[in-house]
């Protein structure tokens, strides 16, 4: 067996769970979206109305795509492609970093470098592995779309567009791995790049030039800076033009070539950007174990808060836009439909704000889970042992993660609230909007606390599985809570998600009972988790 095939086989073995989950998950999301859209937007007239509403309000396009006619297949592409592209992008950057910089950081690459594999071959394996993964992703997604009844040629184009976007981010991931010395840093660059690509094409779509009939749109220049933008330029199911895909692929080729040049000449463990020197002595924060937890959480907190701030800003700015639209003839009927879909008595603005803040709630939950499972990561790394060897007890140790997690949730939601208030302040109807924004932000608190409590419970009871299970729960329950009604899941299934029970801000009529239930559950989970640390042995190792 040659060194290449041996390494590749090893890479496949390592990814035997992760990659199928990404690929099948993305393909399934595509197929589900078709089925869900068939139910929700089965009628062409309805689709036309939705498109003209979206183009008129513009900002909605940030979260969808480039409108390309009211026919069913291009309409589905408009709805779902950018989300699928984000999945492809994240899968690819994580894959690239996992098989390059992460191996190097853990010292595994050094072992391989001493064999005839050398230093460059592992990166070549990562490249081929990633290319094949993206081809499979594109193929299976295309098959899924085809199986859901969309035309074959368009499905193929959509699959290829998805693969091309993934390949672009594979290149970004490989380049990021050469740029910085840590896998954490490289992954951060990767995620930021994916989000930036999404936002850039969002701005491009929102600022584009609409056609006369408000059914098509020519994206503005920011879309040309985004790989996802080029994926949309294919106009799958309508124009079916593959030429735009050459740009992301060429971009990836350039980055990969650069990465390989750097890799061939640099030392093991070195990077283009040097690791920064830190403080020689500890600051006042690092005076207690609580200070340590806080210090370990700050960078996480900053990242999620920035996202929450942006979400809040978008929530109230977009709502203000809706406000202006309600005066326009013809549009209110659609908005009325939207309002009733979002649940009952709320006004349009309230419903809109609530939907946006549920994204803020998901961000806060993710952040809280990340803090909770950090306890487990500290334990498996062995640094928890260092802390527990001092007068800090196990119960107090986990309780501090609970406390910091709760603070972090409040801060992240506070950032969303701040963004919301800033956006609302610019609206014409600030006085009416602001209380709704405050309520919507507060309403997210219980669900996020539930996720924190459950993550800590998993850390205490099932330490080995805690990290994977916690992330899995947030992922599945977020999708159920937000998309459950759209996917027409049975009520008992959507009922499993804390987000389903999150109070919906509706001014004085807000029903807070769901929130109190969630708070109770969060409290019980947290107390159980912390109390069971008293009887738990430390379980280091993976």
């Amino acid at each position: 067996m040659s060194a290449f095939s041996a390494l590749w086989w090893h890479a496949i073995r390592r990814d035997r769970v992760t990659l199928p989950l990404w690929i099948l998950g993305t393909a399934a999301l595509g197929a589900f979206a078709v089925a869900a859209s068939e139910d929700t937007y089965g009628d062409e007239a309805e689709r036309e109305q939705v498109l003209s509403l979206a183009i008129a309000s513009r900002a909605i396009l940030v979260f969808r795509g480039t409108p390309n006619g009211a026919e069913f297949a291009p309409f589905v592409f408009f709805l779902i492609f950018t989300s699928l592209a984000v999945m492809a992008g994240l899968m690819s950057t994580f894959l690239a970093v996992r098989h390059t910089r992460a191996d190097e950081e853990r010292g595994r690459a050094e072992l391989l470098g001493a064999t005839r594999a050398g230093r460059v071959l592992p990166a070549a394996v990562a490249l081929v592995h990633g290319l094949v993964a993206n081809v499979l992703l594109g193929a299976l997604t295309a098959l899924g779309l085809l199986a859901s009844g969309l035309p074959a040629d368009g499905s193929l184009v959509a699959g290829l567009a998805l693969a091309a976007v993934g390949v672009a981010f594979l290149g970004i991931g490989l380049a990021a791995a050469e740029l910085v010395a840590t896998s954490r840093g490289a992954n951060t660059i990767g995620v930021v790049a994916v989000l930036a690509a999404y936002v850039l094409r969002g701005i491009g779509d929102a600022a584009g030039t609409p056609s006369e009939d408000l059914q098509h749109l020519a994206p503005a220049w920011p879309s040309f800076l985004s790989p996802i933008g080029y994926g949309q330029f294919t106009g799958a199911y309508a124009q079916n033009d593959l030429r735009p895909l050459l740009v992301p692929v060429a971009f990836a080729a350039l980055l990969v070539a650069g990465a390989f040049v750097v890799r061939a000449f640099r030392d093991q463990g070195a990077s283009l950007l040097p690791d920064r020197q830190g403080r020689a002595t500890a600051g006042p924060v690092l005076s207690s174990s609580l200070g340590l937890v806080w210090r370990l959480s700050v960078s996480t907190l900053v990242a999620w808060s920035a996202g929450a701030l942006l979400t809040g800003l978008l929530a109230s700015s977009l709502t203000a836009l809706i406000d202006q639209l309600t005066g326009t003839e013809g549009v209110p009927a659609v908005l009325e439909a939207l309002r009733s879909a979002l649940g009952g008595t709320a006004t349009i603005e309230q419903a809109f704000v609530a939907v946006f803040f549920s994204i803020g709630g998901i961000l806060a939950s993710c952040c809280a889970v990340q803090i909770g499972i950090r306890a487990r990561q500290e334990e498996s790394r062995g640094t928890a042992e260092t802390v527990l060897a001092t007068p800090v007890g196990r119960v107090r140790w986990l309780a501090e993660y609970w406390l910091v997690g709760a603070i972090v949730i409040v801060v992240v939601l506070g950032a969303a609230l701040l963004g919301g208030l800033l956006g609302a302040a610019r609206s014409a109807d600030a006085a009416a909007l602001m209380p709704v924004v405050v309520q919507a932000a507060v309403a997210q608190l219980p669900a996020a606390l539930v996720f924190l409590g459950v993550a800590l419970l998993l850390v205490a009871w099932l330490p080995v599985a805690a990290v994977g299970l916690s992330w899995g729960l947030v992922g599945v329950l977020s999708v159920l809570g937000v998309f459950g009604p759209l996917l027409q899941a049975p009520e008992w299934v959507t009922g499993l998600s804390p987000f389903t029970h999150t109070p919906v801000a509706a001014g004085a009529d807000t029903d807070w009972s769901g929130g109190f239930w969630l708070l109770g559950i969060a409290l019980v989970a947290g107390v159980l988790a912390v109390a069971s640390m008293r009887r738990r042995e430390l379980a280091p190792g993976d």
């Binding site: 840590t182 020197q277 830190g278 403080r279 690092l286 640094t383």
Partner: protein, 230 residues
């Protein structure tokens, strides 16, 4: 030894010291820490993830010595350290012993135990099989005596009182004798007019092998544990 990947070595040292509560006298702590950082030649500004194994070990040792304690417990403290740093470590052990502390050192490096420890325990499969001062332990085992085989009558060697395990290898006669009977055997050796005589007291390694020698896959063996008590 694992460190926090995004805390610098200096931060980790201070954190451990503060958590242990030994930094009350700030000036004394700072002086102690600065001296140790210099002695172990550590760059405290590097992040934990950037340190080599030896440097992580140094961070742990500095953190241990930087705050005063009555009992220090070291488990394989010098693994990953170069010989120069091993000497520095020995110096620090001697210093805290001087200050009245007890040091419990668990190590597989027997020369280190021999150099540093006043009392030694050999632990095998979780049980102490031998314990005492090094002199006590040496008493329990036999001294090896060796000289050139040329012109020596093997029968007369075997007649030396207390000699055992008599052997001739590569032109050298070798036998073992109880350590407390070596002096008594010297006249017999003189009478033989031996050349190239070496009398080697048992090393800790031999003591150790005596307890482990028969156990080939020493999987659950712990190693030698030594205590340096003041």
């Amino acid at each position: 030894m694992s460190l926090w990947p995004n805390l610098t070595g200096g931060e980790a040292i201070d954190l451990m010291g503060r958590l242990r509560g030994g930094t009350g006298d700030r000036a004394a702590y700072a002086a102690r820490r600065a001296r140790l950082v210099a002695a172990f030649e550590l760059d405290p500004r590097k992040k934990g993830r950037a340190y080599s194994k030896g440097n992580r070990q140094k961070v742990a040792l500095i953190a241990a010595f930087a705050t005063p304690a009555d009992l220090y417990i070291f488990d394989e403290p010098t693994s990953g350290l170069d010989p120069l740093m091993e000497v520095r470590f020995a110096r620090e052990v001697a210093r805290v012993k001087e200050e009245g502390a007890t040091v419990l050192l668990s190590s597989h490096i027997l020369s280190e135990v021999e150099r540093l420890c006043d009392r030694v325990s050999i632990v095998r499969a979780g049980r102490t099989v031998e314990t005492g001062t090094l002199a006590d332990l040496r008493h329990l085992t036999r001294t090896s005596v060796e000289f050139a085989a040329e012109g020596v009558d093997p029968a007369r060697v075997a007649a030396i009182p207390g000699a055992a395990d008599f052997a001739v290898e590569q032109g050298r006669v070798r036998f073992l004798i109880d350590s407390d009977r070596v002096a008594a055997a010297l006249p017999a050796l003189a009478a033989l007019d031996v050349h190239g005589l070496t009398v080697a007291p048992p090393s800790l390694e031999e003591l150790f092998l005596r307890h482990y020698g028969d156990l080939v896959p020493a999987s659950d063996a712990e190693g030698a544990t030594g205590r340096g008590a003041a």
